[in-house]
């Protein structure tokens, strides 16, 4: 049978029982629409999250080996005592766009004479790191500004400010520790308050690198050097380049993707993605299998006749697979369109997560409390392809069943 004849017959068969075809197409529509919504949601959740997270944590981080081994304890004494020469060397490496020394530790905040101290994550780095890298100045509440690098100033996360009762203009005392563990207070004027809707950002206390060095008694150093390339997705290559630099050979040079928590998160995201796609395709295929099987059984005599007339087994398989694919193409197109509407709504309006959820995610995940879906051509294309896969997988067993119909059936039919 020529391909044109096969296509014609498959098309006619698809219109033969409109309700059944609609049911089959409906399963593809539901499957692809669901995928568009879920995949754009996943992308919206993890895409910006990774960009934010790697901006905060550096595409590649350079630290002491010993620090990395006890990272959870934030051991201040395992620092990089002289950062200036290292920064100079790293800046000369190909692909390096920016290097930021940073001191991250903990501390408690007191405003004026009040007792009642409030704990915060102390983040000491340059103004550029906070405002250009992380764009945190966009989240400043009205009336505030970012600190200047050489001033005795600080910026507070909204949660810390609220608990401490701090306002812009207040004098604050931040009580931290030196690298050998002695208590170490510094003073500073609160010049801004950031409210990003993210647990980690709102729980932080931002101070200039110089003030952090003073407080921790690491006069010329830092805990880590955060190195940036052009794109966070190229971090592995950048880390490889840096690892080859002799001056860094004793140090831990790690791309973000190899550091916890992302080293576990990558496979997790892939896993969620695969699970979603697999379950959706499986369920839709199950439904299609059911309706197509009905068609095959109903048309047994007819297939027998076609086989008697010389249709090969392959042709019988093709007839049903093509019919399913025709339904699949239409169903997928409709499904993508149907799914695009709620996905577009989620992309423009987003969904509010409660503060509780984001706060519990811990310091490493600067999750925004409003998550918006991210729609793009890749998601439409994936969902469409999955729709075709549903039709293909769902029709395979019925098509094979059709191929097993013996041509002798034709002679026995109608008795």
């Amino acid at each position: 049978m020529s391909d044109r004849t096969l296509l014609k017959l498959a098309l006619r068969n698809a219109t033969r029982r409109p309700m059944r075809t609609a049911l089959t197409a409906g399963m593809v529509v539901a499957g692809t629409a669901l995928l568009v919504i879920c995949l754009s949601w996943l992308q919206g959740m993890f895409g910006p999250m990774l960009r934010d997270a790697t901006n905060a944590a550096g595409h590649v981080a350079v630290r002491q080996q010993a620090y990395v081994e006890r990272e959870q304890l934030m051991p201040l004494y395992e620092n990089l005592p002289e950062t200036a020469p290292l920064v100079q060397i790293i800046r000369q490496q190909p692909g390096v766009v920016d290097v930021q020394p940073r001191i991250a530790t903990g501390g408690t905040l007191t405003i004026g004479e009040e007792i009642g101290e409030v704990f915060g994550l102390v983040d000491g780095a340059s103004k550029a790191y906070f405002t250009e890298r992380q764009n945190l100045d966009a989240d400043l509440v009205a009336g505030g500004r970012w600190f200047e690098d050489d001033a005795e100033e600080m910026v507070l996360g909204a949660k810390v400010a609220e608990e401490a009762g701090a306002k812009v203009g207040d004098e604050a005392v931040l009580l931290g520790a030196t690298q050998d563990g002695s208590l170490s207070p510094i003073k500073g004027r609160v010049v801004g308050i950031v409210s990003a809707g993210s647990g980690a950002i709102d729980r932080s206390i931002y101070i200039p690198l110089a003030r952090a060095r003073w407080m921790t008694d690491i006069p010329d150093g830092a805990i880590e050097l955060l190195v940036y390339g052009a794109d966070y997705e190229d971090a592995t290559a950048l880390a490889a380049t840096l690892s080859a630099v002799p001056a860094l050979s004793e140090l831990a040079v790690q791309a973000w993707s190899t550091r916890p928590p992302w080293s576990q998160m990558g496979p997790m995201v892939d896993g969620i993605w695969a699970f979603l796609v697999f379950v959706t395709i499986f369920l839709a295929a199950l439904g299609i299998w059911n309706t197509m099987m009905m068609s095959v059984l109903e048309r047994t005599d007819e297939i027998g006749v076609l086989r008697a007339m010389g249709l090969r087994r392959r042709g019988a398989v093709g007839l049903f697979v093509v019919e399913a694919l025709v339904i699949g193409v239409v169903g997928s197109l409709v499904g993508v369109a149907v799914g695009a509407v709620p996905a577009w709504y989620l992309a423009t309006h987003g969904i509010e997560l409660s503060e509780q959820v984001t706060a519990n995610m811990g310091g490493q995940f600067p999750i925004r409390t409003t998550i918006k879906a991210a729609l793009d051509g890749g998601i439409f294309a994936s969902a469409f392809a999955c729709g075709l896969l549903m039709a293909l997988i769902g029709s395979l067993l019925p098509a094979i069943r059709a191929a097993l119909i013996s041509p002798v059936t034709a002679m026995r039919s109608g008795r």
């Binding site: 049978m1 020529s2 004849t5 014609k8 017959l9 006619r12 068969n13 219109t15 033969r16 005599d301 007819e302 006749v305 076609l306 086989r307 008697a308 007339m309 010389g310 249709l311 090969r312 087994r313 013996s406 041509p407 002798v408 034709a410 002679m411 026995r412 039919s413 109608g414 008795r415």
Partner: protein
Amino acid sequence: MAICELKGATKTYGSGATEVHAILGIDLTIDAGEFTAFVGPSGSGKTTLLNQIGCLDSPSAGSVHIRGKATAGLSDVKLAGLRAEEIGFIFQSFNLIPVLTAAENVELAMSLAGQDGGHDAALALLAEVGLEGLGGRRPNQLSGGQQQRVAIARALVKKPSIVIADEPTANLDSDSGRAVLDLMRALNEKHGTTFLFSTHDPMVVDYARRVVTLRDGAIVSDERRGAAS
């Protein structure tokens, strides 16, 4: 010239105690241009024999040759190819493809046989079987007799060596049945196509020039009637 030769052709269903020889040791030669009826009581093996000649099935023992080609041991693809090119079928319950028009049903046979020019040939043949102007109708818009004419056109359009018709008139009233047989005879005489059919109807048997009678899977008589009425 023999276009079909059976030697000791046997078809066995089941095994052991439930073994049934649907046909057993059939020796038969069919020449080009025959118009032959297969008769015999129900269960005597008529359909089974036609299945063998029509390459729908291959023998359990013995041999069936179509134009010198043995069917035993042929792959499904080879058998399908042989059927597509050499054999036309007319079925008791017409069995047209319901989603195709009369003309498309006829074209389908040419397409399956890998032949070109289907549309024109289909319309010409439909006119020849008395269905001029009805080529655009679907099977459910045609009477039983008309459907069987479409089926005849479908069987003949690819110019097969043999047309096999298992009880072609069983689902038709006697007038339509007669008309269908007249048509088959006319086409047999005009194109020289070989027609093999089975029947229970004595009226139908009267059309045959050769009558093969089966009983319990074996041939009990083979009678040639010269130029019958």
